[in-house]
């Protein structure tokens, strides 16, 4: 478990925005927290997995994909803002992600 500082928050946001700008060939300035990953960026679900791998390595996270999968079913992600929030929760709670709802 890691406490989410302003620095981590900004770093996660920057990584997510840069990732989508690069993969979807759009300017970062075109992306905001309400941007729809599918409708606006033509993104795909694999991108979510790739980002998780990036953050797992960067923050040395102990989290199983199935835990994220279960959480994502209950808390669907459609926008960039929601995706950033979920990545922060993953970093903060790792394998205890599901305990947030309890």
């Amino acid at each position: 478990m890691a406490a989410i500082t302003e620095s981590i928050r900004n770093e996660v946001k920057e990584i997510v925005y840069s990732f989508f700008a690069e993969e979807c060939e759009v300017e970062i300035a075109q992306i905001n927290e309400n941007t729809s990953i599918i409708n606006d960026l033509d993104g795909d679900s694999l991108m979510f997995l790739e980002l998780i791998e990036i953050f797992k390595k960067k923050y040395n996270l102990d989290i199983e994909l199935k835990v994220i999968g279960k959480y994502a079913v209950k808390h669907p992600v459609t926008t960039i803002g929601q995706l950033v929030d979920m990545q922060l929760l993953i970093i903060e709670h790792e394998n205890r992600l599901m305990e947030i709802d309890q």
Binding site: E23, C24, E25, G43, D44, L46, M47
Partner: protein, 417 residues
Amino acid sequence: MQVGQWFTEIVNRMSKEVVITGMGLISSLGLSLEENWKNIIAGKSGVKKITLFDASSLATRIAAEVPPEFEELSRHYIKKRAGSQMTRVTRMCMTAAKLAVADSGIDFEMEDRLRCSVIMGVVNTGNSSSEKDTTAQNTVFKTMTNSMPAWISLEYELMGPNYAVNTACASSAYAIAFGFEMIKNGQADIVIAGGADSIINFEEIQGFNALYALSTANDKPEEASKPFSKSRDGFVIGEGAGVLVLESKDHAIGRKAQIHAEIAGYALTSEGYNIMAPMKDGEGMAQTIDLAIRNAGISKEEVGYINAHGTSTELNDRYETMAIKRVFGDRAYQIPISSSKSMLGHTIGAAGAIEAIITAMSLKNGLLPPTINYHEPDPDLDLDYIPNFSRIADFRVALSNSFGFGGHNATLVLKKH
């Protein structure tokens, strides 16, 4: 179904004509239909020394590779994200499809997408040791053989059936035949059909060398593919993509589309004989050609050109010649025949579509492409193989033959529009 309905169905089917309204072609001789056609009519060879990998330890070190400028072209047509999930061959297919759709002038916003289909001949996707940037996350997408039709269907949001067919070297001819059938039966208005392939990689060439199927004339690559010649010593591997937009004639006329040629019919047969060799004396090939002519409702006298399978192997060229003689009798000597593989090499799963496109262009332009490298006739093969130079001709019906390992045979019948 009542007799009246049944009769109406048959009349509808008979009256529905299938036409080609778009074509996209990528090969060793060019990255557009126009560039390819110009080079084919000029009798150029696309065969060179292999550059895609280190072939120095192989018996065969030559192939007909797509020019490196393809990478730039594909970036123009395919988004980076999607491109990273495709092999180079799949990108060839996708690019050729986009060229074909652009050529057809179709706006899918105006179409009933449930009545638009994609059928591709796919032997493999080329996710071999020659493929770059394969990762654990894109391996499945790069390898799955349905990826080519799937990506095309995704690109245009088409909702009719999309699928791949694998019948080795006849695959994309089969795809065209199935597309023809869907339109003829009223199941689709538009079918994007074709194929793409590349087996220019270490393991496949080593494998075909072990079967003594490939030419080893490494010193003069451009002269290595010599179908119907006495000195032929096997086929030369080529790569590329050919995609056609098939459409019912009524639908094409309704949207004032250009029509390149008509598909009059086809035959698909199996030889049930041998996993590699064609049936002795070309019996299976002859049955296929004969059946295609009958299915298309044309007479043998109408056939004015045959785009042969013509691989440059001992058996294929011998048996294909025998088959044509068996079907046409003495008239076989009057029918011009050529092998596009003399210039493009054997593009395997793409060959049927690429050669159907060349056949359509021949009909449209009244020009017969040559069989190049024909300098030493085989005394047993004595038909008119359009040696070395293209020829002007006035003809209305042409055949395109494709025969695959495993005994998969296909003959397409095309008509001038």
